[in-house]
């Protein structure tokens, strides 16, 4: 993290094009050059400060996770004096801890698969056809993205208890479809709009049936859109706590809930708490890495 700050001014000359002018270098006049360099450095400083602001709290968590509890409480230091991995060892060897991660990953994956599977045909219908009540239906779907989980916590608890799904992975996965399916439909619809209709028509003329056309031709065309939608389903399911905590007790307890409960029960074990926190960041970071070039477009729901 410190690297970014220290070599920021040095790298800007060659790596970062002007913040404002996207014009080719050839058109830049001699007179404009010094001004432009100054502005570029300004951008680098802004970005450096902003990233520093983003990374400091995360660094602090990492720092704490590598200290022993006695060191955390007795001395105040910017980096661990006695580097220890004991906190991570506690988590990775204790089933009640690491099963939390496994549970989370299971329901997040289930949710992503379910959401994308049902959202694909619906998004296609919204992007290609107009039918009775389509606009109202679309807005109604969006309203579910706006529904506060707090409103649904109790009814969900009763619904899933009554059908015997309480404390299962599928219950959490289904509950999270509440906000993920509308979002997936919204994103996919945005990406599908970008595919020209002529492709559909050509495929039908060539004798493709709808399912075959959809899977063989259409899905590869919007592969990046599917990836982005999956990423967002993963993300919102992974970060959610209120519903997943309400719907589970032991068997499917997510890591986020494990953190709150174990810590409050056994006093404040800052080191382990921090280590658990760091480990929850890892899957997200991995997934970001794979979709890094599409993140911005995905956040814009495919509408840029």
């Amino acid at each position: 993290m410190t690297d970014i700050r220290t070599d920021a001014p040095g790298r800007t000359h060659d790596a970062i094009p002007g913040a404002v002018t996207a014009s080719p270098a050839a058109t830049t006049t001699e007179a404009a050059r010094p001004r432009r360099a100054a502005r570029v450095n300004g951008s680098a400083i802004v970005m450096g400060l902003y990233l520093l602001f983003l990374m400091l709290p995360i660094y602090w968590l990492l720092n704490m996770s590598l200290k022993t509890n006695s060191e955390i409480l007795s001395t105040f230091s910017l980096w661990p004096q006695n580097l220890t991995l004991a906190n991570y060892e506690t988590i990775l060897t204790d089933a009640s801890w690491y099963m939390g991660y496994v549970n989370s990953i299971i329901y997040v994956t289930l949710n992503t698969v379910i959401s994308i599977t049902v959202a694909l045909p619906a998004a296609y219908a919204f992007s290609r056809y107009s039918f009775m009540g389509d606009k109202h239906l679309f807005f109604w779907l969006l309203t579910n993205r706006m529904a506060p989980p707090a409103v649904f916590a109790l009814p969900f608890f009763q619904l899933y208890s009554s059908v015997g799904l309480f404390d299962t992975h599928i219950a959490v996965a289904l509950a999270h479809t509440l906000f993920n399916v509308p979002l997936a439909v919204w994103i996919l619809e945005g990406f599908m709009r970008g595919v020209p209709r002529e492709i559909d028509e050509t495929a039908y003329i060539d004798g493709y049936s709808f399912p075959r056309f959809f899977v063989r031709i259409f899905m590869p065309l919007i592969a990046s859109g599917i990836g982005v939608a999956a990423f967002f389903c993963f993300m919102f399911s992974w970060v959610e706590l209120l519903l997943s905590r309400t719907l589970t007790s032991v068997e499917a307890k997510p890591i986020a809930a494990t953190m709150t409960r174990t810590v409050s029960a056994s006093g404040l074990d800052w080191g382990v708490l921090a280590a658990a926190g760091v480990l929850t960041i890892v899957p997200g970071a991995l997934v970001i890495y794979f979709v890094r070039n599409y993140i911005a477009k995905g956040f814009a729901l495919g509408r840029v």
């Binding site: 951008s43 602090w60 056809y129 039918f131 779907l141 529904a147 707090a150 009814p155 926190g277």
Partner: protein
């Protein structure tokens, strides 16, 4: 775009309908059901009509929570939207550094919300947190569990930390879609930096900014986990936002009737405001011929 009329498209939407009906309509009906009944324990329910709604409209607790919630959403939107645009304008356009910025900026978005709370809880503590410790050393009294202002400042800074990147990424996506020709034309006209922003960049970002504001408004209005972990709604009721109050009522005190009435009002407020945003957004889409 001119779409073909095809009523059979309903079949394609059917799976979504079934799923959402299961996970949204049934629970919502349960809420409606509770909101008009009273219970005296056990499983006995009595018709209460609109009593709960009436009570709710006259309860100071609800209005206070709503006021705090609106203030919170307004403050974070007022900070995050300009800051996000500013960051986006300063982001590198392509290459390794652009990717690095994208990855690092997305990182806070992927952290489970209670971990976000934990991070700031630790970060702000005077004894072990960098922020709290530094402020303390500078002679600023700072204690987010005791002091009203400190609690609000912590919750707001935390939200800015957590979500500004979302606005920045959206604005960045909008900026990326502006063709070079626009800038060249502006250059020929010798437009000032401000004018380039005002007449080229801002209008082109309009669509994505509406999405950003819509998403940020909805999520900030539903915020629960982060302030709950950091302040627990305190000191007193200072940071008890709508969701925190609702969960207290429904799962803590098990006051089903009032909690259900509360839920419905809460949902309606969000729907109303979101509907306005959505209408504006689709009109923008139409105007741009998307």
């Amino acid at each position: 775009m001119n779409k073909t009329i095809n009523q059979k498209a309903w079949f394609l939407v059917l799976p979504v309908l079934v799923l959402v009906a299961f996970s949204a309509v049934i629970p919502l009906m349960t809420v409606v059901n509770y909101s008009v009944q009273d219970t005296f324990g056990g499983n006995q329910f009595f018709w209460a009509g609109l009593e709960w709604f009436d009570e709710l409209l006259h309860s100071e607790r609800m209005w206070d929570a709503l006021g705090r919630q609106l203030a919170f959403s307004a403050i974070i939107l007022a900070i995050e939207v300009p800051l996000g645009i500013f960051v986006a304008l300063n982001m590198p356009k392509k290459g390794f550094w652009a990717s690095l910025c994208l990855v690092l900026m997305s990182l806070p978005l992927l952290i489970p919300w209670n971990v976000v709370g934990t991070i700031w809880q630790i970060f702000g503590r005077v004894d072990i947190g960098l922020l709290g410790h530094t402020l303390d050393k500078l002679g600023i009294s700072y204690n987010y569990t005791q002091d009203f202002l400190a609690a609000w400042a912590t919750v707001i800074v935390m939200d800015v930390w957590h979500w500004t990147s979302l606005v920045a990424l959206l604005a960045y996506a909008g900026l990326q879609s502006i063709p070079d020709a626009y800038y060249q034309a502006a250059k020929i006209d010798q437009a000032s930096r401000w004018k380039v922003f005002r007449y080229i960049e801002l209008p082109k970002m309009q669509g994505v900014l509406m999405i950003a504001i819509l998403l940020r408004f909805m999520d900030s209005f539903m915020i629960y986990t982060e302030p709950f972990v950091v302040t627990g709604g305190g000191p007193g009721n200072a940071t008890t936002f709508l969701s925190i109050d609702l969960v207290k009522m429904a799962l803590g005190q098990f006051d089903l009737g009032p909690a259900a009435a509360f839920s419905l009002m809460y949902f309606l407020v969000i729907l109303l405001i979101s509907w306005v945003f959505y209408t504006v957004m689709t009109n923008l889409d139409k105007r741009d011929g998307l």
